[in-house]
Symmetry: C2
Subunit: 439 residues, 2 copies
C-alpha cells in the first residue's frame, strides 16, 4: 500500500517531499489510513478536524479520537467547532452545504496562516466511482464523468487510486483503529443507493470494475483536457474583452459543437441548453436575440456574441455649479465653464448653455420612460426609441447615462444633447463637458 501510495503521489505530481500538507481527518477509516501513510512516508504534515456538532456526544468523541491520533503520529493538530445548524439556518442553505462552506473557509484560513502547500483529503476510488455514477444520474458533461481529480484547486487526493477494500485491508493489517460515521443525510442516502444497489450489479457484470474504472476515469480526464485545449484555442483566437464586456466572434463558434460554446459561456452563468439554443439562433441567423443567465446577458449581434453583466449598477452623482469633475461606475466627466463660444462637437463632448442649467445637476443611469428633445428637433422623444434608432447595442444600453437638470435630460452622455440646453447666439457662458469611459 505504501509503495502504491508513493507511486501515485509521484506519477500525479501531487506534491514534493519537502512540502507541508494539511490532512483533513474525520476519524473514519479512510482518513486514519491516510494519516498513517503520511507518517510512514515521513512526510511533513499537520491534521485538521472539523467538529460540526451535528451528532452531539459522538462528534466530541470523534474530535478526541483525532486529537489522540495526531498526538500519536506527532502531528500538529487543528480543530474547530462549528455551529453548523445555526449557520445553515441563517444562510438559508442545507446543513451539508453549510458544513462544506465552513470547512473550506476554515481550511483556507489555515493554509494562509500556516503556509501549507495543499489540503489532502482521503477520497478513494469507490468515492470516485460513486461520484461519476451520481453525476451520470443527475446529468453531466465530461467533467462530471472524470470524477474528482487527484489534484485540483489546492486539494490533493492521495488515496484516489485505492479501493475502499484496499484501504480497509491496510487498516486491518496495520492494526489501526477508527471511528464509524453514523450520520445519514440526504447526500449519504443517495450515495448509499449507488454503493449498495448499483455498484454491486456493475461488479456482477464486470468483476474487475475497479481496474476498469481507474482506466475509464483516466481516459475521461484526458478527454476533458483535450476539450479544454480546444476551448482555449478558440478563446485565444475569437474572444476579446473590453471592460466588463466579452466579445465572441461568431465565426469562431458557429458550426462547432455546443459543448465548446458551453465552456466559453459557462463562466458567465450560461448552461448547455442555452448554448444549444444559441446554436439554433445562429443557424437561423436570428440576430438581435438575447439570452440571460443569473448575472449576464448574451446578445447575438451580426458577427459577434456580446456577453455583458446584467443590471450594471450606476450610482447617482450630483454636480454643484462649480464642480470640475464627476464620475460614476461607467463614465467620468470633466467640466469647464467658458465664455468664448467655441462649441465642442465630438461624440464624447457636449457644450451646454450654462445659464439654462439648474444646479446641482444629476448624473444618473437612463430609465425607461425618460424623454428628451434631441438637438435639432422640435418634439420629444423617448430615450429608449432614440437608442433603437441609434442602434446602440444592448450591452452598451445598460451603461447609458443622462445628465439631468431639474428633472430634464440635458445630455444623453456620449450621444446627444437636448435641444433646450444647446448653446445659442445669445448664450453668455458655455458649460463644456468632456466624457471619458471607465472601461
Amino acid at each position: 500500500m505504501l509503495k502504491a501510495f508513493l507511486d501515485f503521489i509521484n506519477l500525479q505530481k501531487l506534491f514534493e517531499p519537502q512540502d507541508k500538507i494539511l490532512l483533513a481527518v474525520s476519524g473514519g477509516v479512510d482518513s486514519v489510513a491516510l494519516t498513517v501513510l503520511f507518517k510512514e512516508a515521513g512526510f511533513n504534515f499537520a491534521i485538521a478536524h472539523c467538529n460540526f456538532q451535528l451528532r452531539g456526544e459522538e462528534s466530541d468523541t470523534d474530535e478526541a479520537f483525532v486529537k489522540a491520533l495526531a498526538e500519536s503520529v506527532g502531528a500538529q493538530f487543528f480543530v474547530r467547532c462549528f455551529d453548523t445548524k445555526n449557520y445553515a439556518a441563517v444562510a438559508n442553505i442545507s446543513t451539508q452545504m453549510a458544513a462544506r462552506e465552513l470547512r473550506y473557509d476554515w481550511f483556507s484560513e489555515l493554509i494562509a496562516r500556516h503556509s501549507f502547500t495543499a489540503i489532502a483529503t482521503a477520497h478513494h476510488l469507490d468515492d470516485n466511482i460513486e461520484t461519476v455514477l451520481f453525476n451520470l444520474a443527475k446529468g453531466t458533461g465530461i467533467a462530471g464523468l472524470r470524477g474528482m481529480l487527484p489534484k485540483n484547486n489546492g486539494i490533493i487526493r492521495p488515496l484516489l487510486f485505492a479501493s475502499k477494500s484496499q484501504i480497509v485491508d491496510f487498516a486491518h493489517a496495520e492494526g489501526l483503529q477508527w471511528r464509524e460515521d453514523s450520520s445519514n443525510d440526504s447526500v449519504k442516502y443517495t450515495r448509499n443507493l449507488i454503493r449498495h444497489k448499483i455498484v454491486p450489479v456493475l461488479k456482477e457484470i464486470n468483476p474487475s470494475l475497479d481496474d476498469t474504472f481507474r482506466q475509464t476515469l483516466e481516459k475521461m480526464k484526458e478527454t476533458e483536457a483535450v476539450l479544454r485545449y480546444r476551448v482555449a484555442e478558440i478563446e485565444g483566437k475569437y474572444i476579446s474583452k473590453k471592460g466588463s464586456d466579452i466579445f465572441i466572434a461568431i465565426e469562431g463558434v458557429v458550426d462547432r459543437e455546443a459543448v465548446l460554446l458551453e465552456e466559453l459561456i459557462k463562466p458567465y452563468g450560461f448552461n448547455y441548453s442555452q448554448a444549444q439554443e444559441l446554436y439554433s439562433m445562429l443557424r437561423h441567423r436570428s440576430s438581435g436575440k438575447i439570452l440571460e443567465s443569473d448575472r449576464y446577458k448574451l446578445n447575438v449581434d451580426r458577427e459577434i456574441l456580446i456577453v455583458s453583466p446584467m443590471g450594471q449598477v450606476i450610482t447617482e452623482q450630483l454636480l454643484a455649479h462649480d464642480a470640475s469633475k464627476v464620475s460614476n461606475e461607467v463614465v467620468q466627466l470633466v467640466i469647464e465653464v467658458a465664455t468664448d463660444k467655441r462649441i465642442l462637437t465630438g461624440k464624447n463632448e457636449a457644450s451646454l448653455d450654462y445659464d439654462r442649467l439648474r444646479f446641482p445637476l444629476k448624473l444618473r443611469k437612463w430609465r425607461q420612460g425618460d424623454t428628451f428633445r434631441p438637438l435639432g428637433m422640435k418634439g420629444k422623444k423617448k430615450i429608449s426609441d432614440f437608442m433603437i434608432d441609434e442602434k446602440i447595442p444592448l450591452n452598451l444600453k445598460e451603461r447609458v447615462c443622462v445628465l439631468e437638470s431639474d428633472g430634464e435630460v440635458a445630455w444623453i452622455v456620449g450621444y446627444r444633447i437636448d435641444d433646450r440646453f444647446k448653446v445659442r447666439p445669445d448664450s453668455k457662458r458655455i458649460y463644456n463637458i468632456v466624457m471619458h469611459r471607465n472601461d
Copy 2:
C-alpha cells in the same frame, strides 16, 4: 409522437424524404411502432425480417406476423431464414455474434441489390441508456459513453429520441399489435440486470433520467467530435504513410493526452494501455522499444514512431537461368546477363558472377539463422547481426529479401552481395540485377 419523430429525423439529418429506407423489423413493439411511423409519415420504405430459427415455431410465427404487417402497410417484404446455430458452430462464435454477422451480411446484400439509402433500426433511448451503462461497466472511452448514434455506418435509428414507455404508449394509442420476444441469451441477461436493477435506482435519484440522459448523450457525442477533430489535426500534421508503414512524428504526440495517441494507433489494433505505455517510454526516452498488436508492430525510433504490418508475407520465387524479371510482395528484380565487366555498384543493384550461380535461384524473405559472407570479408556473418550493424530499422527488416543460390545467400537484396559470388578478373559472364521496391 409522429411530430417528434419527424423533428428528430430533420434535426439529425437522418435521410431525405425521397430516400428509400429498409426497416429491420423483428415484430417487437419497437419495430412495429417504427413501421407504423414510417407509414404515417408517407416515407418510401421496405421491410426486412431475419428468421434466425432459434426459437422453433415462435420464430416462424414472428415471420408470419411481420409478413402480414408489411402487407398491411403496403411495403415490400424481404425475409431470410438462417441456420444460425450451425453457422455459429462452424465459425466457432457465439449464437449472438453469428446472428449479428448473418443479419448485417444480408442487409448489405439487400442494400446493394435494391439501392436503399440506409437501414433503419428501432433502437430507442432506453436501449441507449443501457448501452452506456453497459459500456461504463465494461470499460470505455468517450465513444462508449455517447452510446449509439442516430446515424452511423449506413444505419439510422429514428426512434433514438423516444423512451420505451413513449413507444409503448404510442403503440397502445394506435391499437397496434406486436410480438413479445421470449429469447434470453447472455447479452439479454446483462441488459436485464441494467434495465431492472440499475436504471430504476438511477430514476429514484433522478426522476427525469430520460431527459437528463438525452442531454448527456448529446454532450458526449459532441465531446467525441471535439476529440476527433483534434486527432484529425494531429494526423494531418504529424502522420505520414509510405507503402504499408505509418510514421508518427513523436513531437506531435509527446506531452499530449494518451487518448489522442490511442485514437491514432487504434486503427492498427493498439489499445489505450499501450498508448499509455508508449507515453511512459517517450517520457523516459527509451527509443528502440517495440509494441505489438495482433497485426502491427510499433517501433519507437528517435524522432518517430513507426507502425508497420507484422509478419509481412513474402512468397518464394524461383528464377530460371534465363529469367529477366521476378517480383514478390516487396521487390521487383530486373536481370540482364552481360559479358562486359562493368559492375553495378548502386545500393539497389548487384553484379554477380553468372557462372558461380546455380539455377534456379530463389528469391525469398530472410530467415533467422541465415548467414552469408559479406563482400570483402573472409568470415561468415549472421544476417540478423548484419542488419543490426547496418542499422536497418525494424519495419524494413520485415521486408528484407535474399537471393539464394543452391542454399547459399548470394545477395541480401538491396544491401550487400556475398563475397563468394562477386565478379572477379576471370569472370566470364556478369549477372546484373536492378531492384525496384514495390512500395
